[in-house]
Amino acid sequence: MAGSTPASAIADATDVAPVGRVGALGRAPRRRLLRRILQTPAGAAGVSLTLLVIVVGLLADLLAPTDPLVPAGPPLAPPSPAHLMGTDALGRDLLSGVVYGARTSLVVVFATGALVLLIGVTVGTVSGYRGGRVDDALMRVTEFFQVLPRFFLAIMAIALFGPGLDLLVLVLGLTSWATLARVVRAEVLSLSQREFVEAARASGASDTRIVVLEILPNALPAAVVYLGLLLAQVLLLEASLGFLGLGDPNLVSWGYLAGQAQRFLRVAWWLSFFPGVAIAFAVLGLNLLGDALTDVLGGRR
């Protein structure tokens, strides 16, 4: 089936493009998609929370009242108009820490997401489209990565290589793509049996052309939906590592703030409360968004 029409064997493959383009997710329906997500309360909440974190992260320099690493008031001051979320033991403004923490989370989530998408979509597509032995081999590798305990692997890597954002993203990205690859593989597998793909194949389009123009555009929505749920878990994992003091020592992160709060739990509830709320909101936003997209696109949870 696959691989029977090498590109070089096709004299003129340029005029086969319109044959099987499906319009299910073309421009206009996509706008309707957003409206349908916003119509459900859960979807609207998901979109708002996710947007909120993105905007705060992007505009951290403008939104943070002070430098999160420099003392700005009395130590351990409870929330007040001067310091809306209070201050820590060194008198640093917690609101500024939470605002800059959004930026750290944003960087981790986007960088890990890009890596996961790249590996997951590549493995899933090759596996689903090629089938046979390649599929078997890739699925064994995928299963292996699903079993690998990410949290403990990350801790060992941090101990051996030293803490840092780049290492964290690399470890999280390299170990989180497995389920995404399976989702993409399932999509590609069913898509490659569809009529419009058969039609493109019959008209002599190359494998690369079929995959890039016909299959991927239709398989990607499922991948993106799943990515939201997956990144919510990545965010929680990064927060846990930060809580244990294993995050990047040069950056403020929500997990790190909550970890620092542990010693002052008796005297300063706000130090653990607000960073935790921030993490929960961000994770909830991604989960709700993922669920809403799944419902609207009619996929399975």
């Binding site: 060992m156 927060a239 846990s240 003091g245 542990q262 960073p275």
Partner: protein, 321 residues
């Protein structure tokens, strides 16, 4: 479930275990400073370096090193921790029971509570109680476990004194017998509850979805038409079939659960693996870290294996392709 299925599934474990062992090897060899610094730290004495070099064959060619390392690992011999001056595996084994007690309690509790809550919510879909369960599950699923722990400490332990704040036993309290067990149980309650909450959320969500799907199925309508009671139909006909994917999810979460256990241990000062793990990161005590990583990975592989076999037993349609 055929013997063939069991056999094929058991064989699958081998490459997985080999892969996990290989990951440890790669990390140690890629680490800055090379394998001897990674394994023995940079503060050891010559005698210790010579011991670890010989133990892992670090003066031999690479394939031989891999073989020696794999042999050591599979025998459970990870070398001597320089910091502790004892075999790494002994140090880990000492801390393991407390971690297993906490994780095991949470696993059993969350499975039972999650299935019960999910089915209870699905029985009256879209009612107030369903809404309450699903929203609570959604929030618990999103909340970081250390935050839930800190909130529980603040509200239930520090403010009201209902639960002890830190540790596994009362200092100077009973050391044996029933009184000791009760003391441990009192200390265990809150951390186990916090650790279980996220798992409860995951299991309840899945059970609810599964039961709802089954309740709409033909065989349930037939059972109701036969005049069976609602409760009987729910438990015997809908829940039973809906449990299949739930079993898979419970079996696939030990890695996640153990990660959560480490974090919860830190919040509640529970004397398990967490403190050992964190000091080993600071002192770069690789034999310990490698041991914990391999132990967790082995647990996850074993849990997956058991899950698949249980699944095959529950659902006779399963055949290894």
């Amino acid at each position: 479930m055929t013997g063939r299925y069991v056999g094929r599934r058991l064989l699958q474990v081998l490459p997985t275990v080999a892969g996990i062992v290989l990951v440890g090897f790669l990390l140690i060899h890629l680490a800055p400073g090379g394998p001897i610094i990674a394994l023995a730290g940079d503060s050891g004495d010559d005698e210790y370096y010579a011991f670890m070099t010989a133990k892992f064959g670090l003066d031999r060619p690479l394939p031989e090193q891999l073989a020696t390392y794999a042999g050591n690992v599979l025998r459970g011999d990870l070398g001597v921790s320089y910091i502790q001056g004892r075999p790494a595996i002994d140090v880990i084994a000492e801390r393991l029971p407390a971690t297993l007690l906490l994780a095991g309690t949470a696993l059993v509790g969350s499975s039972v509570a999650g299935v019960a809550l999910g089915a209870w919510a699905a029985a009256r879909a879209h009612s107030i109680r369903d809404l309450a369960v699903t929203s609570a599950a959604l929030v618990l699923y999103a909340a970081p476990v250390f935050w839930l722990g800190q909130l529980a400490l603040l509200t239930l332990a520090l403010r009201t004194g209902l639960f002890p704040v830190q540790g596994m036993t009362t200092a100077g309290g009973p050391e044996t017998g029933l009184a000791w067990a009760l003391d441990v149980a009192r200390h265990l309650a809150l951390p186990a509850l916090v650790l279980a909450s996220q798992e409860v959320a995951a299991v309840a969500r899945l059970t609810r979805a599964g039961v709802l799907e089954e309740l709409a199925a033909d065989h349930v309508r037939t059972a109701l038409a036969k005049g069976l009671s609602d409760r009987r139909v729910l438990v015997r006909h809908a829940l039973r079939r809906a449990l299949l994917p739930v079993v898979t999810v419970i079996g696939s979460r030990p890695g996640h659960l153990l990660a959560g256990t480490i974090v919860v241990e830190v919040v509640f000062g529970w004397p398990g693996l967490s403190r050992l793990l964190l000091t080993s990161v600071q002192t770069r005590d690789t034999p310990i870290l490698l041991g914990i990583f391999l132990l967790v990975a082995a647990t996850v592989v074993l849990a997956n294996l058991v899950t698949d076999l249980v699944y095959g037993w529950l659902d006779p349609r399963i055949r290894y392709r």
